[in-house]
Symmetry: C2
Subunit: 255 residues, 2 copies
């Protein structure tokens, strides 16, 4: 049954959405059936694959049980990639869930009937450790952490890892760290080398071999509503996410 | 009495903290007495000026009235710059405030005795439109919006402006937009030119003449706990924030 991977980091702008969209797309190109769940009210992952929520069927209403799954799961430009799109209404979900029983388990419950239909399910989170992100960590088999090669991003890693520990010790004992991905890396700067050395020193094997270089084509592609592989397959960004997909698959097979 | 300016944008990583720290520092160098309030549990603004909260006195306890103002306001390496530092405990504030009466006014109330002591008070926010950011918008005379020259950042601007409108129509009728600042601009890319043209086209005079270029020295300076003016005063980043401070002051005088 499908593996659920949450892409999380409370530090803003570190490449969560870019990684969710382009890793999911690269796996779909490798014919793994993949679902992208947009759990951020900014709805960037939805627009990144060129899909807008239709009418009353968005992830918010689906999460609260107000609309059924077939109505919400949308196809994308890639045959094997599907998306559960968000709208800004999702801002209301955190407040609404706060007073519910088992409020951390809403997403896990709504996802479980979908697990058999997909090889991989990726969840894109907002830059926060609030209830929606906790839902995503509770529903996940593992969490993939994009790490921007910047000082503030490194500083925030401790807070994220202790939240993951807390969820593992309570709500979701099976939660693993899928990997740590260095993003927006500009190897001409000393800072990027320092952050890479620090991350590999501390986290060893958890850090992917693949690094994602800073590449303007990656920031252009969302304005065309297309993952990088469909926008500019020759770009360094597309190549990096293909290589990440290969490494991601190899890790599933235990190598 | 002092002017309160909130630096807000729910899009992550757009330069909120970098702008809060370096604009506040540049104004302090121009001998305006300035307070920097760190309202983000990531506490990046605090570490950006090299200050850690001491013992039990952080912005969280101060906000809830558990410690008095003189114990929390800390000096920095600049004579005219002070900081109200944060700790990760601030994550608890949103939940705690939710059930309080007049929960949006806590910050405005706690700040009002400080207004007479400073020329400017800047509030750095987390990447969210939750209750802490609403507190900051309610306490502010105006809001300064850092706009990263990227597609997703432009896409999110509508959501931010409608939240500002909502606060102006209810909690804080005097709330103005101080200005929109283009950040991390790399003029070698078409995207940056497109975003600048779009922003100036839509928002005209609101957009500062000064743009902040992408400059690696700006991302190195937080690791030294120093604003850019003290880390590398000759850098393009420092020059840009000095010019922003001049433009900011000129706007106060109505020119
Ligand atoms: N490797 C890269 N090279 C260049 N630009 C990039 C790269 N990765 C992401 N970007 C751009 O940087 C910005 C931030 O990335 P993204 O939005 O994916 O981060 P995020 O962590 O999802 O942000 P948020 O915290 O707001 O959800 C976006 O405008 C994106 O297009
Ligand atoms: N003009 C610039 N040139 C180069 N790097 C920059 C620039 N401005 C900010 N940075 C770096 O980019 C990253 C994001 O900036 P910053 O942390 O200030 O954004 P933010 O909006 O406060 O993020 P968050 O949403 O997490 O609070 C930081 O690592 C910062 O050092
Ligand atoms: Mg995102
Ligand atoms: Mg910040």
């Amino acid at each position: 049954t499908g593996k659920v991977v949450t892409i999380a980091n409370q530090k803003g702008g570190v490449g969560k959405t870019t990684t969710a969209v382009n890793l999911a797309a690269s796996l779909a190109i490798a014919e793994r059936k993949t679902l992208l769940v947009d759990l951020d009210p900014q709805a960037n992952a939805s627009s990144g694959v060129g899909v807008a929520a239709e009418g009353e069927s968005d992830v918010y209403r689906w999460l609260l049980g107000e609309c059924e799954t077939p109505a919400v799961v949308q196809p994308t430009a890639l045959d094997f990639l599907f998306v559960l799109p968000a709208t800004p209404d999702l801002i209301g979900a955190e407040i609404e869930l706060l007073n519910c029983a088992e409020r951390e388990f809403f997403l896990a419950r709504r996802l479980s009937p979908l697990l058999a239909d997909f090889d991989y399910i990726f969840i894109d989170c907002s830059p926060s450790l609030g209830l929606l992100t906790v839902n995503a960590l509770t529903a996940a088999d593992s969490v993939l952490i994009p790490l921007q090669s910047e000082y503030y991003a490194l500083e925030g890693l401790g807070q994220l890892l202790s939240t993951i520990d807390r969820v593992r010790n309570g709500l979701n004992p099976g939660l693993d760290v899928e990997g740590i991905l260095l993003t927006m890396v500009d190897l001409r700067t000393t800072l990027a080398h320092q952050v890479e050395a620090e991350a590999r020193g501390h986290f060893g094997e958890l850090v992917y071999e693949t690094i994602i270089p800073r590449n303007v084509r990656l920031s252009e592609s969302p304005s065309h509503g297309r993952p990088i592989a469909l926008y500019d397959v020759t770009s360094k960004g597309a190549q990096a996410y293909f290589s990440l997909a290969e490494e991601f698959i190899a890790r599933q097979n235990g190598s």
